[in-house]
């Protein structure tokens, strides 16, 4: 990997971060007119509002407010959550692992499942399997993930009662957090029962979160594979006597994954955004669930922190995707 490529990507990520601070500032501070009014409880006096203004740096020229805001953001100081009466960033970081755990599980599920289905649908072309996966792909893609979540709750949680539909772990387990990632923590504590419980709790929310992305990955892998298998270099692989399985699962797949990687990068934002609703639906104690409450309580310090943390997560993910792209595509790596 060339240093130039790496530096370029880091630069882009930083630029995006700056852009996000501007956008978040505009949405949260400029559009509402006077956020102090939004923040103030019903029936607050002029003096109360003035105090809020002073406390959150909401007076003075807008550019000064912005500078103060960015400076606070850079140091992670969003202020004290109005609702929880704790340092906002503290609250967010405590809950971040829960969100990342379900998002990463969904990402792995979506990418692995999407690739597998894509490969199989190409390997078994012109069979019922191909038509079935294509139909399922359209469904998976069309239906928003909170609807998937609700459907899962109805079927697997309420009707069949196969899997838990609320929280991260059964209440009878008590796991003191180490990393905050409960799958990891239960392993570290060598508690297979708790691990099983965490795993079972993770399945439905992760699946609901993953389905639309899984469908996107499936369709991308499939169409890129279909292009790749027509290429002369795949004919040459066959000419050398390689088996069809090895060709599609390895040689053609690597080519197909190059465009798919970019797509996953673009889509990761959607997946992360999906956590807001999925966490609310599955009572998942992450920052997604926190988000809705923060908006309900008009808890601006918390909201600002959440928006920034979400955006940073997406930007970081995109940066990682760029690295993966360079790894897969030698023409970028040495360019």
């Amino acid at each position: 990997m060339s240093v130039r490529y790496l530096l370029g990507r880091v630069g882009l990520a930083l630029l995006s971060l700056w852009g996000v601070t501007v956008l978040a500032f505009v949405v949260l501070r400029v559009i509402p007119g006077d956020p102090a009014l939004l923040m103030a409880p019903v029936g607050a006096s002029q003096a109360d509002i003035a105090e809020i203004r002073a406390q959150f740096g909401l007076s003075g020229p807008i550019w000064l407010q912005y500078v103060a805001w960015v400076w606070g953001t850079v140091r992670g100081r969003f202020g004290k959550s109005l609702w929880l009466q704790q340092d906002a960033i503290r609250v967010i970081l405590e809950r971040l692992p829960a969100t990342l755990e379900v998002a990463l599980a969904a990402l792995v599920l979506a990418v692995a499942g999407g690739i597998l289905l894509g490969v199989l649908s190409v390997l078994w072309r012109r069979t019922w399997f191909e038509s079935a996966t294509l139909g399922a792909g359209t469904l998976g893609l069309s239906i928003p993930n909170f609807i998937w979540g609700l459907l899962f709750i109805v079927f697997f949680g309420a009707l069949l009662r196969w899997l838990p539909i609320s929280g991260r772990i059964a209440p009878d387990f008590d796991i003191a957090p180490l990393t905050g990632f409960l799958l990891v923590d239960t392993l570290l504590r060598r508690d297979p029962g708790a691990f099983g419980s965490v795993f079972a709790h993770l399945i439905l929310p992760a699946a609901a979160l993953a389905l639309p992305l899984l469908a996107v990955v499936f369709r991308a892998v499939r169409s890129d594979l279909l292009t790749a298998v027509q290429e002369e270099y795949i004919v040459m692989e066959r000419m050398k006597g390689l088996g069809e399985l090895r060709i599609i699962f390895w040689r053609a797949l690597k080519n197909a994954l190059i465009p798919t990687t970019t797509l996953v990068g673009v889509q990761f934002g959607f997946l992360i955004g999906g956590t807001v609703l999925i966490e609310a639906i599955f009572s998942w104690p992450g920052i997604g669930q926190l988000t809705l409450a923060a908006f309900q309580y008009r808890d601006f310090p918390l909201i600002q922190g959440i928006v920034v943390v979400y955006a940073v997560t997406v930007i970081l993910a995109n940066f990682l995707v760029d690295l993966a792209y360079a790894f897969l595509n030698p023409r970028v790596r040495y360019a």
Partner: protein, 302 residues
């Protein structure tokens, strides 16, 4: 006889690409398959490895290689032949190398699969082969990606791949068309040297009669998917019989374009453009007739 092709017919979806082509190839012999683009010569070449690209399909005919029926062979046995006994040198060396993998991996596949060598051993064998082909730093070449080396180098790599397992039949599908003129000459010399050294029987697909004159023993002329004439190279060049071959050898201008093949052919496919067209040419397809020692022609004139 090493290879015997009989009545080979290939279709692409709705239309016919090759119709009842038949020829033979002896040990060490070089056959030139000649025709303009779209005449079906590449399709015939790929059919010898059963690698006709989708949606193409071999509809009928028989290909016997060393007495085995290639078209009836199970996929696994066919794979054991591909790359080991029968090898292909493709037309476009850039398109024929997978851009996402290092050359080393792609060049050692055949040796690893058919000779059971480890990748490291295979790389050693390949490096020696590449060095003999005039690649200055073969180890370095093997570490590179296809886009990092020149077209001539890529074609050398592909030739080395084809020769790596010592095949007894080689299909060279216009191996120099995409290269510049000087490189063309080098590659041809190299190819001919390797061929005479190993004595591999070769099916050389080309539209270039100059190449035919230098490299081949026998020539088969294809027109619109039909084999129209077959003879020893000297005979074709000195005394071509089919009006199409005559036009080709003497570089005569032809009116019109090559037609698509209708099925089953009820007329001579060349009749539209033939300067010696007769009434029968539009009503009957001429069969391939023997007219001399190893000389066959499909024309109502003879």
């Amino acid at each position: 006889m090493l290879l015997q092709v009989k009545d080979l017919t290939v279709r692409y979806g709705g239309h016919l690409a090759v119709w009842e082509a038949g020829f033979t190839l002896g040990e060490g012999e070089v056959l030139g398959l000649v025709g303009e683009s779209g005449a079906g010569k590449s399709t015939v070449g790929r059919a010898l490895l059963r690698l006709v690209p989708e949606p193409g399909r071999i509809v009928s005919g028989a290909i016997a290689f060393k007495g085995r029926d290639l078209l009836g062979l199970p996929e696994a046995e066919l794979r054991a032949l591909r790359g080991a006994e029968i090898a292909l040198i493709p037309q476009d060396p850039l398109a024929a190398l997978n851009p996402a993998f290092r050359i080393g991996l792609q060049a050692t596949d055949a040796l690893a699969i058919h000779r059971g060598l480890s990748r490291r051993e295979a790389a050693g064998v390949m490096a020696r082969l590449l060095a003999r082909m005039g690649i200055p730093d073969p180890e370095d070449t093997l570490r590179r990606y296809p886009h990092e080396i020149s077209g001539g180098m890529r074609q050398r790599v592909l030739i080395a791949i084809a020769f790596s397992c010592g095949p007894s039949l080689l299909v060279a599908d216009e191996p120099t068309t995409s290269l510049d003129v000087t490189t063309q000459a080098q590659i041809l010399r190299l190819l001919d040297g390797l061929r005479s050294e190993t004595g591999v029987a070769t099916c050389f697909i080309t539209h270039d009669l100059g190449i035919v004159a230098h490299l081949t023993h026998r020539v088969a002329i294809l027109y619109a998917g039909c084999l129209v004439e077959q003879a020893p190279t000297e005979t074709i060049l000195a005394a071509p019989l089919h009006p199409y071959t005559r036009a080709l050898v003497r570089s005569l201008p032809l009116e019109g374009i090559m037609p698509a093949l209708r099925e089953p052919p009820r007329a001579c496919p060349f009749s539209d453009r033939c300067p010696e067209r007769m009434a029968i040419c539009d009503t009957a397809h001429p069969p391939l007739k023997s007219v001399g020692a190893g000389h066959q022609v499909a024309c109502h004139l003879y």
